[in-house]
Amino acid sequence: MSTDGSTTTAALAAAPPPTPEVVFREYAPRIYHLARRMLNNDADAEDVTGEVLVQVVRKLHTFRGESALPTWLHRVTVNAALAHREKRANRAKHETATGDEHLLDASPADPPGAVRLNRPKAHHTPADVVLAGEQRALIEAAIARLSAPFRDVFVLADVEGLPNPEIGDMLGLSVAAVKSRLHRARLRMRELLAPHFENQGDDR
């Protein structure tokens, strides 16, 4: 550590790896929320989060500082969630075979709720938008309605904010395929949420 308070490249390179406590406090919630949105299931998300945390804690000594950790965690969490979903699908195969991966919706339509969303103005950034609990639930429910291939892309792009090439790498898709799925998912999300937006059509 520098004695004069300055930060040098050498000091950064020698930064100690994050501690397990930091991983639990800072990263476990992110891992869990991503897994839950991808898998639509609390118990599955807990399983995946546990698997990922065990891997992370085991490999913590290989990280220098925290800068590389978020990217690695995204990748490991996505891989674990996809593997978990495949295992679950294989288990369920003998019970039912829907072959519905091409469909945009994961489940039949729910009855419309009474929750209203204030449409954010064009200059609003996500940080400016504060969602009440019931609004969050409404959006989470709409995301859960997307079928898995579209939900994966939507969650990684529009919830996690990852760039399309990175999403393509994680999911084994071309950038064109990511864009196409994202396009369809966004249109479906807009359809699902439109009845809940206030001020329909009064701004652009």
């Binding site: 996500p126 609004q135 807009r190």
Partner: protein, 76 residues
Amino acid sequence: MTPLTCDQLNDLLGDILNNEMELHVRAEVEIHLGVCPHCGGLVAACRATITITRALPNADPLPADLEARLRKRCGG
């Protein structure tokens, strides 16, 4: 310059929302959005959807019982 049709604008929607347009395409899109309330509303609604979705919290603390189970699993 031939004006964009609504179908063409729909095909460009992903690029519009990601702000990935060349200048001349952006100009054509702006012209179309200025005269077509339907497409204007579509783009506005999609932008609003993305904005509120990106506002979803990713790092809310875990429920205490869940965190305790996860710590136990990791030997913590």
